[in-house]
């Protein structure tokens, strides 16, 4: 390991209250959970920070439950937990589907949904689903709780509105309107790939659409939705989609391929609407 581990500190809180206290007292403390992103940086010798706050023991943040008709997914729920959770499979099956496509089984057993959102990668598999579900991020600090819609929480390329001293506690997902939920991740191979394009949608009287890997942030495609809502044709919706996305050429794909695939997915999702 190229990062010398011996002078790195791992603070292990006994409770959420203790974790929040530690974070309030030391803004440089970096939260760590499944470490599937963070330890890649460590292994590459580019790890930021010297002191880490271990969230893994805080099992109270791993709960998945339905409360007053709202699906609550704890930030520490792993993708393996989410893929198996009956409440998720019933209410938001595309989240279970996305969870089964995050990395490999080894990664799904450790990677948490809170980490996926905190990292805020434009290629994150779960984020287009959470955008379509209009998920609300529950943020906790010693000062209390606040709630932010996910669209407001992600502020830019790998940037979020997480304030100093705050942890992501959970995601609250209200019931979705009637319709078919659709999800498709396109990568270089069927498993263990980082996406070239991700599209999640609700196809029904209310149309919702969000995409990953086609802009600096995971994107809710509200103008495309508006075209569909007003009875516009698929060609008009595709036109709106092309105007909303801004994919780039990178090591995984090209902008032209991403544009074509995003449009193909839109057409396949909404062809029989």
């Amino acid at each position: 390991m190229r990062t010398a581990a011996s002078d790195l500190e791992l603070v292990r809180p006994a409770s959420l209250a203790e974790a929040l206290q530690a974070l309030a007292g030391d803004p440089a403390l970096r939260p760590i959970a499944g470490a599937t992103d963070l330890f890649v940086d460590a292994n590459a010798g580019v790890l930021r920070g010297r002191r880490f706050l271990d969230l893994w023991p805080l099992r109270e943040l791993a709960r998945i439950e339905v409360k007053e008709d709202v699906l609550s997914v704890g930030a520490l729920a792993t993708f393996a937990n989410i893929a198996r959770a009956e409440a998720v499979r019933q209410r938001l099956p595309i989240l279970a589907e996305a969870a089964r496509q995050v990395g490999s089984l080894q990664i799904q057993n450790r990677a948490t949904i809170g980490g996926n959102v905190a990292t805020a990668s434009p290629a994150a598999d779960s984020l287009p689903v959470l955008l379509v579900a209009e998920a609300v991020v529950v943020l906790q600090s010693t000062g209390g709780q606040r709630r932010l819609p996910l669209t407001d929480f992600i502020t830019g390329y790998r940037r979020t509105a997480l304030a100093a001293g705050e942890l992501i506690a959970a995601f609250e997902i209200p019931p979705l309107p009637d319709g078919a939920q659709r999800f498709r991740k396109v990568g270089a191979r069927a498993a263990q790939a980082i996406s070239k394009v991700v599209l999640a949608a609700l196809v029904g009287p209310v149309a919702r659409l969000a995409a990953g890997s086609v802009a600096p942030v995971p994107l809710r495609l509200s103008r495309t939705e508006a075209v569909l809502a007003s009875g516009g044709s698929l060609a008009e919706a595709s036109q709106a989609l092309q105007e909303e996305i801004s994919p780039i050429d990178d090591l995984r794909s090209t902008a032209a391929y991403r544009r074509r695939v995003a449009q193909n997915l839109l057409e396949s999702f909404f062809a029989g609407r």
């Binding site: 390991m1 581990a5 011996s6 790195l8 500190e9 791992l10 292990r12 760590i32 499944g34 470490a35 599937t36 330890f39 890649v40 460590a42 292994n43 590459a44 880490f52 271990d54 893994w56 393996a80 990395g103 490999s104 089984l105 080894q106 990664i107 057993n109 450790r110 069927a190 498993a191 263990q192």
Partner: protein, 142 residues
């Protein structure tokens, strides 16, 4: 720090942010766990943490306090997986073998055949073309 390694309680002194992979190899002397990519892509370093496959290159040692860890050395010598891997030629260079064995061991006989392939998607092998590995696992489950 105390944890359970291959069924025995052990007490190992190592930095909390050291990779579990390195602790197993350097501090516990168990070199069966191999490093491949070091970024969670190849599955070479797979161990079982609380019975579930994880990449040991991505686990800070401090997080396994009190937990159960199983490495390839913990698979019983008479387990059918080992015999069938040998008989079917499922091993060539051997770097990926411990990871495959542990992922397959964790699945036990509970998964359907197609789920076995999906579960093994995070274990890469550049020698065998996978067929001998799938065959060995199928025979071990029979």
């Amino acid at each position: 720090m105390r944890f359970h390694l291959n069924g025995r309680e052990v007490d190992v002194q190592a930095p909390a942010m050291k990779r579990l992979l390195d602790v197993l190899r350097e501090d516990c002397g168990l070199t069966g766990t191999k490093e491949g990519c070091g970024e969670g892509e190849c599955g070479s370093c797979t161990v079982l943490l609380e019975g579930e496959p994880v990449c040991s290159c991505l686990v800070p040692f401090g997080q396994v306090a009190g937990a159960r860890v199983m490495t390839v050395e913990g698979i019983p010598a008479d387990h059918p997986l080992l015999r069938h891997f040998v008989e079917q030629g499922a091993t060539q260079c051997g770097a990926c073998t411990p990871g495959f064995l542990l992922t397959a061991y964790a699945l036990g006989s509970r998964a359907a055949a197609e789920e076995v392939r999906a579960a093994l998607a995070g274990n890469l092998c550049r020698c065998t073309g996978y067929q001998a590995i799938y065959r060995s696992i199928k025979k071990a489950r029979a």
